[in-house]
């Protein structure tokens, strides 16, 4: 245990005992040191006196060269037990006499040393000159042991140790009883404080022992307790009041909460009842709310999108018009977009992007989307109908043209030849000639009327589709054209062709017209080739006129005929549009128009390419059915 954590009584006792120990130790040390030095001084004095006497007495022995006498003088030292060795040196420093007489020379100094005392290895050594009437005649050396001093010092130390132990014991006994007068009041005070803090009973008071500082502390402590008691009472009553107030406030808040919830529910009901999508995004495009209509149309749940970014929920909408509009709105602009195709679902919307502001700062955007898909579809249908109407209008115009021109021409011829017939009444030969002309014109007129009838019938056809083997159709046509083919020495080659859905008669007519054209408009031996190719999905997608959900077959019909200039590639499909004079090639000008009509009737496409004198290529794309 650290001293700082020890009880006060122990601290006090420790301080007293420690002080006592230090004092006794210091005193003992001082005493022993003093003893040591005084002993040394006294030994020096004694040895000095002894040396004086011996040196005085030994001068004659040295001067008159009597070692015997010198040894005798030194031998007088035997009375002093402390002297362990002594010697005399003559004026030259040579050993002259020694004590004890049997001491080996090596244990004595070889030469006299410097005059004076020195302590060496527990011994006191002294050199002293031997003087006779002012003349130094030799040197005396005495060596004394100091054992006696050490024994004495040991005794003192033992005494000091005893004194130390006794004084510590006495100090312990005294401090134990004396420190109680200091520690007891403090302990009592501590006990009281502990009792108060444990039981929280502030009515307890500490007992006062005396008028010292602890007494004053006890008084102060008791005063503090009184004040705490008073304050406690105040706090308690204040607490009760506070609790009352909190209860009241809680009630108020609860009713306010109920009202707010009602309001909220009301607003939510309104939003959810709306026929429009209503959504609120914050500055970082996170959904703050989404109404029921939004959930319905986006096939999601409010809980799934709230707090998430619009771009994370609908990644396909990145950089869509709606995304750009939201960004504009977040810059504070009111955006109204009357029609916009949704990037997320298949539909059209009229969108409002309304910035939500707090002061000048935009904190979000309110999105109102009105689903106008139905209107747009109706519009689309209307447009289609309109187109059809326009087309039939054009057809009607063309009919009018036929009426005014093509049909009139044979009629006019009949009229003219009839006049000429009347004038040449007598000339039988001419009459027959004119009759033949009239007949020819009438037949041509009949052909024209037949073709026009065919054409108009096709446009009104509602016949059901059947599966048709194109190979069979081509073979039949080859039979039909057998005479012409033989006459022109023509070849028709084709690779195996597919079976396609359609109206048998129309498909037969389509290829009949094409083959007839190729055989007709040709100066050389006609060579016709029919190839097929199933469109891949990518090829289908690349052609905007095709439906990507349907499989198509491409039929390439090419010949080596007279061809046409590329600029007429669209014009040739127009009814009664003929590029060549009737004189060169016979024809009604309805054939290719009929072809286009048939292909369109089958939801297909027909295009033509040509090069004058080289040939023409017709590309027909027809649907094979759903993928």
């Amino acid at each position: 245990m650290k001293l700082t954590d020890a009880p006060i009584q122990r601290k006090l006792m420790s301080v007293i005992i420690l002080s006592c120990a230090v004092v006794v130790l210091l005193m003992s040390a001082a005493f022993i040191l003093f003893e040591y030095y005084s002993f040394k001084k006294s030994l020096e004095g004694q040895i000095s006196t002894l040396a004086e006497t011996i040196a005085y007495n030994s001068s004659a022995a040295i001067i008159f060269d009597s070692p015997q006498e010198a040894n005798d003088i030194l031998n007088a030292l035997s009375a002093e037990k402390r002297i362990v060795a002594a010697s005399l040196y003559d004026a030259e420093g040579k050993l002259f006499a020694k004590y004890p007489i049997d001491l080996p020379n090596i244990s004595l100094p070889v030469k006299p040393g410097v005059k004076g005392f020195r302590f060496i290895a527990g011994h006191l050594e002294v050199f002293r000159p031997v003087v006779q009437k002012d003349a130094t005649v030799g040197t005396l050396y005495i060596k004394s042991n100091m054992e006696a001093m050490y024994i004495q010092l040991k005794k003192y130390m033992m005494l000091a140790a005893w004194l130390f132990c006794c004084s510590l014991f006495v100090a312990y006994l005294l401090s134990r009883s004396l420190t109680k007068t200091i520690s007891q009041p403090i302990l009592a005070l501590e006990q009281t404080a502990k009792m108060i803090s444990d039981k929280r009973d502030y009515s307890v008071r500490a007992v006062k022992f005396g008028k010292d500082e602890v007494g004053a502390l006890t008084d102060a402590f008791n005063n503090m307790l009184t004040r705490i008691e008073v304050q406690n009472a105040e706090i308690t009553s204040f607490n009760i009041k506070l609790e009352q107030k909190v209860r009241e406030r809680t009630n108020e808040l609860e009713s306010a909460n109920i009202y707010l919830k009602q309001q909220n529910d009301f607003v939510e009901t309104i939003l959810d009842s709306s026929a429009h999508i209503i959504a609120v995004l914050d500055k970082d495009l996170r959904f703050n709310s989404l109404n029921r209509k939004g959930e319905e149309l986006y096939h999601t749940k409010k809980e799934k999108v709230i707090g998430k970014s619009y771009l994370d929920v609908f990644p396909e909408s990145i950089n869509s018009p709606a995304h750009l509009d939201i960004q504009r709105a977040l810059r504070g602009e009111y955006v109204h977009n009357t029609v916009s195709r949704s990037a997320v679902i298949d539909g059209y919307f009229e969108n409002y992007f309304i910035p939500l502001k707090l002061g000048e700062e935009v904190y979000g955007v309110l999105i109102l989307s009105h689903d106008i898909t139905d209107i747009m579809e109706a519009n689309e249908k209307l447009k289609e109908l309109n187109n059809e109407l326009e087309k039939s209008n054009r057809d009607l115009e063309q009919f009018a043209f036929i009426a005014s021109h093509d049909l009139q021409e044979p009629l006019r011829k009949i009229h003219i030849f009839n006049d000429m017939l009347a004038e040449n009444f007598h000339d039988e030969q001419n009459m027959r000639k004119y009759q033949a002309k009239i007949d020819q014109s009438a037949r041509r007129m009949q052909d024209l009327i037949m073709d026009v009838l065919n054409f108009s019938r096709i446009s009104k056809s509602e016949e059901a589709f059947t599966q048709n083997d194109l190979n069979l159709i081509i073979e039949n046509l080859k039979n039909d054209f057998e005479l012409l083919i033989t006459e022109k020495d023509a070849t028709i080659s084709y690779e195996p062709l597919p079976v396609i859905p359609g109206i048998a008669l129309q498909l037969s007519q389509l290829f009949s017209n094409l083959i007839s054209n190729s055989l007709k408009y040709n100066d050389k031996k006609p060579a016709i080739n029919i190839a097929t190719h199933f469109l891949t999905r990518e090829e289908t997608k690349a052609n905007k006129k095709l439906n990507p959900a349907i499989r198509y077959v491409q039929i390439i019909f090419s010949d080596n005929g007279i061809g046409f200039e590329t600029k007429y590639s669209e014009q040739i499909f127009t009814i009664f549009q003929r590029l060549h004079g009737k004189q060169a090639y016979s024809g009604t000008g309805i054939g290719l128009a009929l072809c286009r009509k048939i292909v369109e009737n089958h939801q297909g496409i027909i295009t033509a390419e040509g090069q004058v004198g080289v040939g023409a290529t017709f590309t027909i794309i027809l649907p094979m059915g759903n993928l």
């Binding site: 005085y56 007495n57 001068s59 004659a60 022995a61 001067i63 008159f64 060269d65 009597s66 006498e69 003088i73 003559d90 004026a91 030259e92 006779q132 009437k133 002012d134 003349a135 130094t136 005649v137």
Partner: protein, 188 residues
Amino acid sequence: MRTGISYIILFNRGLKKACAVFFVLFLFNAQFSQAQTSSEYQVKAVFLYNFTRFVDWPATSFESGNSPFIIGILGNDPFGTYIDETVNGENAAGHPILIRRYKTVKDIDHCHILFINSTDAELIKPMLAELKEKKVLTVSDANSFASLGGIIGFYMENNKIRMQINAGAAKAASLNISSKLLGVAKIL
């Protein structure tokens, strides 16, 4: 031993002088003294000088504070110049030491130490009688010189010069011999 004693004499002089004297001694010893003076007499010369330190003469034996201390040699001089060199510049209790040489007892007027160079007891006895009143420290090589009434007699023992002292004669001559000197001598 000779040089050792020389050092004893010179010990309390400065090192310079000691060196100089040593040098001088060395030269003379080598060329004259050693040739003329035996080592025995060299030691005895130093002993004579050293007696001045262990014997107290009565103040009445000096005329004044700086009157000389005289060492006399009676008869043939065995020391040669060695003894002069030994005492040269020395003093005894402030009195400069002088060497005097005497042919007969009659020549002696006043001296403090007298070396009697004679071994003949019959000759010595009357000399001693003559000197009785003179407070002179008599010294001699003669056998049983102390017994004859002389104060210090040299004799040889284990090849060493030893002394025999007649304490009575000394007292009669009013001389106070140091107990330390007595300690190293034979007392009669």
